[in-house]
């Protein structure tokens, strides 16, 4: 009887804890209106991946994912500085969107069916901002060359990521046994690997390159040629909020389209003048918001492209700044070039 009473009181307490977490929010309003009203964008990032989002010594965040947040803030609010960054772990990120803790996510997130679907995570993905693939990094001296060599070995992997599933798929389809050592964040994966707990570490190839850039002897580590998966990384928002999803989609396309048209941070105002003076340049006038009223259709101001490009530059500029040859984490552009230069980035027309 006493046990029963205790159990019941435990259950009651538990339910109260759970229900206490739920907050009432207006579901019918788009998050976009809330962002404008708040005059600040709350952007979920990782904060731990050099080149994508990394906390600098002066307290600011830097990286490709961070610049994408800035582009959104410039388009939504008109000021790329009005952002609150929320560092999130891989496991926290989707709950943070669904509960409304953050407005949107720009955090190395792989676009997959189950994350996009309403029966799965129920998100909506913006266009891909970085095409990545999962790889394996080993120590040069180990003499390991491919996936087969890693049979029966321990592999350090981050938990709560698609990486965890991919590594399992790869080993299972090759019928190779292995031991996954799972850590909650990438820094621990790196520490486990460097301390010799695992023969290899696995993550997206860009993250491996980023992690390696911080090692004492980067040349002692090699990234194997095996590519285990496609990892298209894209910003995401709540799937039920079409208005915000649309706005995000076209901000990314604007970045890509601007690169294709040669519109950069330094020449944007010249281009605006050019478009104003030449009524026959129809596509450019529509793109820069002089004609057509395209911005208003997605809940933004008509000149949102001008605001975005003048604060962050086009996609190519963002890439060069964070992942280019002279950056701290150089990654060849490869698939991330424009379609005109052998890559796969392309923007639908601004019509």
């Amino acid at each position: 009887m006493k046990i029963m009473r205790r159990f019941v009181s435990g259950i009651v307490g538990l339910t109260m804890l759970l229900t206490g977490c739920a907050t009432t929010n207006q579901a019918n309003n788009s998050r976009l209106d809330l962002i404008k009203k708040r005059n600040e964008l709350i952007c979920g990032v990782s904060g731990k991946i050099p080149g994508f989002s990394f906390l600098e010594s002066d307290g600011s965040y830097k990286g490709l994912d961070v610049d994408i947040c800035k582009a959104f803030a410039a388009a939504f609010i008109g000021d790329a500085k009005k952002i609150q960054f929320r560092p999130l772990t891989a496991a926290e990120r989707f709950t943070a969107i669904k509960t409304g803790e953050i407005d949107l996510l720009s955090r190395n997130t792989t676009f997959t069916l189950s994350r996009d679907s309403s029966e799965g995570n129920g998100l909506s993905f913006a266009p891909v901002v970085f095409h990545d693939g999962q790889g394996l990094m080993v120590k040069q001296e180990s003499g390991l060359n491919n996936l087969e060599d890693l049979a029966n070995k321990s592999i350090c992997v981050g938990s709560g990521t698609t990486t965890e599933q991919n590594i399992n798929d790869a080993f299972e389809s090759a019928s190779l046994p292995y031991t996954p050592i799972k850590y909650q964040d990438l820094n621990q994966v790196v520490a486990g690997y460097l301390q010799g707990r695992c023969s290899a570490m696995t993550s997206d190839r860009s993250q491996l390159a980023a992690a390696r850039s911080g090692f004492k002897d980067p040349l002692d580590h090699i990234i194997l040629d095996d590519v285990l998966s496609k990892e298209p990384l894209a910003p995401a928002s709540d799937g039920q909020d079409q208005k915000l999803g649309d706005a995000m989609r076209w901000v990314i396309f604007a970045l890509i389209s601007a690169e294709e048209q040669g519109i950069t941070k330094s020449n944007i105002y010249e281009k605006v003048q050019l478009a104003k003076n030449n009524p026959e340049l129809k596509p450019l006038r529509r793109f820069l918001g002089i004609d057509g009223g395209l911005g208003e259709k997605i809940g933004l101001s008509n000149d949102f492209v001008v605001k975005v490009i003048s604060s962050t530059g086009n996609y190519g500029e963002i890439y060069e700044r964070n992942l280019g040859k002279n950056s701290e984490v150089p990654i060849p552009r490869g698939l991330n070039e424009l379609y005109t230069k052998g890559g796969i980035h392309i923007s639908p027309p601004f019509n």
Binding site: R6, G10, T24, G160, K182, Q184, Q195, Q240
Partner: protein
Amino acid sequence: MNKHRNIFLQYFIFIVFISLFGILINNLAINLIRTGIGINFSWLLKPASFALAEYPLPYSASDTYAWALFIGWLNSLKVIFISLILSTFIGTLIGFARTSTHSLIGLIAAGYITIIRQTPLLLQLMFWYFVGFLGLKDNILIHIENIFKVSNQGIELYGLSFSSEFSALLFGLSIFTSAYIAEVIRGGILSVSRGQWEAFRSLGLSEIKGLISIIIPQALPAIIPGLTSQYLNLAKNSTLAIAVGYSDIYSINDTIINQTGRAIECFIILLTSFLFFNLIISNSMEIVNKIIVSSKKYN
């Protein structure tokens, strides 16, 4: 009159409590429907498709989520149970040392307790794992052929092998909890009046014999409740396993939440499992307490 007011007050509190509870439930239900999440446990029977490093029962990636969770539960139980025994053992020794009349021993024990209690557990776990075990690199710390081996792959004892993740968590939890247990033991011993010590000494009993047969039986009723709460803390602290890569129930939950997006269901499962762990602990301790109290009556 006073009695009536008491009854009225009780009913009032009861009604307030029930309505508050109702509002919270309603709030949760509305929000779940609104965000389109809903509560659904059917995913539990789908294949987990992730591998685990440690499993006390057979497990493969094609097993169900439910089975993966059960394996995680067993892994948690394993570390909690062994750590409970180990921390009680270390804690008791330190507790005795702390009350020792030998001042150097007392000082060492006090130093141990101070250092352990004033640093965060997470830090200690990281230390044991990344510096303690993994810091060994390829060196082998202790190696007695076929009996005992400590390396960065963990501990081997008579053919039983424990991974470095498990060992680090076990040590970290046991040592952390032992410092608190030592204080509980010391408090219990000090609660026995000085006269009892003088009495057994005058009877010619040795310090250790007197401690075991005279002091401890009288100190136990004061020790047990404190011990129970330390055991409960230990069970809850075991979730920090995720920091050192041990596949406990929390870490497996973390993976499942990410794969399925079923955060609420997973947390219900997690909270219920811990409620279960802690009910086992507190009820067993209550039984122990009853045995001690009743045996004392016949003394």
